[in-house]
Amino acid sequence: MSELRFEELRGEEVTYAIHRQDRTFLPSRDHCPLDPTRPGGPQTEIPFPAFEIAVFDNRFPAFETPGGAAEVVVYTDDHDASFAALAPERAEALMWVWRHRYMELGAREDVDYVYIFENRGVEVGVTLHHPHGQIYGYPFLPPVPRAELAADGRLGGCAPCELLRRELADASRVLFENDGVVVYLPYAARWAYEAHVVMRSHRASLLECEPEELRLLAVALQMLTRGYDALFDRPFPYVMAVHQAPTVSPSRPGAAAAGQGHLHVEFYPPLRTAEKLKYLAGSEQGAGAFISDTLPEESAAKLREAIARAG
């Protein structure tokens, strides 16, 4: 069981999950725990010879009941695939899986925030190459969604709605859009190729989305990630973060935050060139102030071209 400690100076929770120190780390291809269990082959996390999408409790959980949840979402049984390379129907199916996990985990008393994410690439600390994401059910409201809700107060309403309006009006950083989703580099992007995938209509969570919106979200996420891979003609590392409304139960502290939010997906790619990484160093870690080497408008132009190349 993990232990939470509150760091008073920053006002943030720190989670101690010391059992994760021994988790599986970059196993050989023949011993991938996320592969299906093939006849005569090693037992894996999924004891079936084939599957479409699998979700299971993390063997090395940062959070577990009654103090939250940690799940692994395996996108496909194809070890060499990626989110960008999934068939469109599979990517759309994944949206329904995310939605279902949000509903089930969010219903739990011990889950205040359902966070769906993917770490892609060793540059962001991935330990298994098989295409997969994770879901944390935090037993508290983490700092980033808390900060996003605070922005609502500063902007006098839903912050993502207002920022979307501004980005569409400016247009210089918009990468592409469809009837349900707009994708842009934000005005104050911290990462060189940070992108936000924002629902055009106000939707607090995946639960509020129409089926067509889920499909359009999947289409947009795949267009962006294919563009990323085309940008430097290499698998593009990123952190993909799905931000939705907190799910704090009425009986819990902080319940006022429940239901507040605007579904959007943020990408934090660490590459600033094909070979150079952006590190979180002195200013970012010690002062909490990002220093960027690139302008979002210029990055947006390059990424638009890459997306067009990727088709």
Binding site: E3, L4, R5, F6, G11, E13, E45, I46, P47, F48, F51, E52, I53, A54, V55, F56, D57, R59, T65, G67, A87, E89, R90, E92, A93, W96, V97, R99, H100, M103, E104, G106, A107, R108, E109, D110, P139, F140, L141, P143, R146, A204, S205, L207, P211, L214, P246, T247, V248, S249, P250, S251, R252, P253, G254, A255, A256, A257, A258, G259
Partner: protein, 92 residues
């Protein structure tokens, strides 16, 4: 339960928001680890109309999430495993 950021801000349960009203009454527990394959549908106790509609579209057979069929299992060590398969979306 350790102190949380909510505690530090002095927020109280009285500030209850609307969510998760749609989840009210749903099971908050993980699947029973005593079974190898689990039935049960969150739609049976939840309020999401689309989930109920989805089930009826499939003739009420088994658990579904939208167009996806759900099969629940329990691994040898007691951890939950859920397999989602596509009934309607095509060749996913």
């Amino acid at each position: 339960m350790p102190q949380t950021v909510h505690d530090s801000l002095g927020e109280t349960p009285d500030e209850a928001g609307v969510y998760p009203r749609a989840m009210a009454g749903m099971s908050a527990e993980p699947p029973d680890s005593g079974e190898r394959s689990l039935g049960g549908n969150p739609a049976d106790t939840g309020e999401r109309a689309d989930m109920r509609e989805s089930e009826s579209e499939h003739g009420g057979r088994g658990e579904h999430a939208g167009p996806l069929a759900i099969a629940r299992h329990v691994k040898d060590d007691g951890r939950a495993l859920i397999l989602y398969s596509d009934d309607q979306l095509g060749s996913a």
